[in-house]
Symmetry: C2
Subunit: 346 residues, 2 copies
């Protein structure tokens, strides 16, 4: 294995020379731009293949596009986000765009840093999944670079958005449990104080939907909420809190699957059985929920579809930055499994 140094980069100039045309011509072929005859196109493409030429995204970005789409994911371990990402990459497969993910942005500050990093890298478009930033900030970002916001409600003049109807999702759960005879249906929510986020974030919408559905079913008096966080531990603590109340709930609607798992642990620890003593439902219908031994009833949001819609809207907007913003709202469904059952007679 000889340690020969990497040869000099093949540039557009090399290709032009090899194909006996101008660099402009090569550039046009690269971008499928108007104004290149089929003959020239063929010549150039052959030269590209023969030299193994690959355009430098950095250089392209300095004048035109980088053909890079940045996706901000707040939490890699959330399997629902992986579904969204699958939808994005599937929709973008076959185009010239490459998806890059920016990780680890928990909290407004880290999120700001990550978004800046993507803008600094001249990305052509941004998909922000469940961003927590202030709305003014999102608008500012969207004005600099085409942006689609996924999983956050509320419209904006600057960006497109894709969201699932979280109010409807919560209603699905409450109706399902109420139909099974439950009345003391409790909810574990992700604590929220910020005014705008109370109106736009999915967690807040789910809590709203829960309250609304309870009232609609005449169960306003049984509304019972533990306010923790959308984590395994949050579910554990929330369930502990709810179980300590008398009378304790006969069903718990957790705002996310991981929360439901935490709740299941607390319930098991308390020596209660699911769904015998208490029913549990989650949200997201992640792979965890469908896993046999868990078999969690959960609200299904079509993450792939959401991702595909987001990517489609983004590519659209890159092509026409001035078109009017669009809001896509999908409807959730309920995957009923073995953690929910008719209320037991007491």
């Amino acid at each position: 294995m000889v340690d020969k140094p990497a040869p000099r980069r093949v540039t557009i100039i090399d290709v032009a020379r090899h194909a006996q045309v101008s660099t402009t011509a090569v550039s046009k072929v690269l971008r499928n731009a108007y104004g290149a005859s089929p003959a020239m196109r063929a010549k150039v493409q052959q030269a590209i293949a023969e030299l193994g030429y690959r355009p430098s995204a950095a250089a392209r970005g300095l004048r035109g596009q980088t053909y890079t789409i940045g996706v901000m994911i707040p939490e890699l371990r959330n399997l629902f986000f992986a579904d969204i990402l699958d939808g994005i990459t599937a929709q973008l497969a076959g185009t010239d765009y490459q998806v890059l993910i920016a990780p680890g942005c928990n909290g407004e500050k880290a999120e700001a840093r990550v978004i800046d990093a993507m803008i600094d890298r001249s990305m052509d478009g941004l998909v922000l999944i469940a961003p927590v930033s202030a709305k003014t900030r999102l608008i500012e970002v969207a004005r600099r670079v085409p942006t689609v916001v996924v999983g956050r409600h509320g419209s904006s003049p600057a960006y497109d958005s894709v969201a699932d109807d979280d109010v409807a999702g919560a209603a699905l759960v409450v109706d399902h449990l109420a139909d099974l005879g439950h009345r003391r249906i409790a909810h574990i929510e992700h604590h929220e104080t910020d005014r705008v986020r109370l109106a736009e974030m999915p967690n807040a919408r789910r809590a709203d939907g829960y309250r609304e559905a309870m009232r609609r079913r005449g169960l306003a008096g049984f509304i019972d909420i533990a306010s923790t966080s959308y984590t395994h531990d949050g579910g554990y603590r929330g369930a502990k809190e709810l179980l300590s109340r008398a009378p304790r709930p006969t069903a718990i609607f957790a705002g996310a699957d991981v929360v439901a798992l935490g709740a299941l642990e607390a319930i098991a620890e308390a020596g209660l059985s699911v769904p015998g003593d208490i029913s549990v439902a989650g949200y997201d219908n992640s792979a965890l929920a469908s896993f046999g031994p868990i078999s969690l009833t959960s609200v299904d949001q079509d993450g792939r579809q959401m991702g595909a819609d987001a990517a489609r809207l983004l590519v659209d907007r890159i092509a026409d930055r001035d078109r009017r913003p669009v809001q896509v709202q999908l409807s959730p469904t309920l995957a009923v499994r073995r953690t929910t059952a008719a209320v037991s007679l007491e």
Copy 2:
């Protein structure tokens, strides 16, 4: 909300003008480079802050670095990879490097495309997690850009590597089960045919380690392998196959946690209990394994540590591309939980 257009980008020239210095001076401050007095440094930093200047990574990349580290992750849903990533980002926090993840590279072809995309984008360094590409290809890549390979054995003159001792991990499981009195210990492996990968990929090393440990414990006659894949379904099919043999195994060592989960489903379907009738152990000690109701005995690889080591090596190599390559090998430990127990009397 007035729809004012985004103002022109603030460039290094604006900063230089504002601070009354040359662009070189600004550049030096940006890079913490030698040759700028504290006074000038202060002036420039103030100007940067006042103008809200952010350097363009594309422009920087054309001459120098992009301050971007690319991480290739074959499968976002693998929680072990998320641990590695946490280690990488933690190690890189506080530096000027930004981590970007390239997703969805299952298979050699997709992997090649993704690696090319990262090179095209002038990334300063690459972390390749469990790459399946041919070794010659990896060496070629490493010659173009500083590269660290994680989770693949075998050394190279071109890249650093970080791996867990998979042979030792498999031995931990076999020893644990043998100590519990098991003799018919079966294994579910990820099918592999390629010669080099048979020597370098973790799955192959685990199968080797299993065979070796069985022989060492005098259980060579009980070696029993189902060859499927490292997926939930692979575990399900593998366990079904193993259970159909007579006499059936009293313990199954699955090559990964997801495989173990699939096996658990097959075992439950067969009407057998764990660990009463059969013990099950996994590999990776992912969040799934420690989740209460599952409580899977599993081999723990310190993913965070692996990621941190990889990042450290990469930054080192970016600073000195000619230093000799290093191989880091970590030792796994065994997390014993409730899916393994003493063999039952028959």
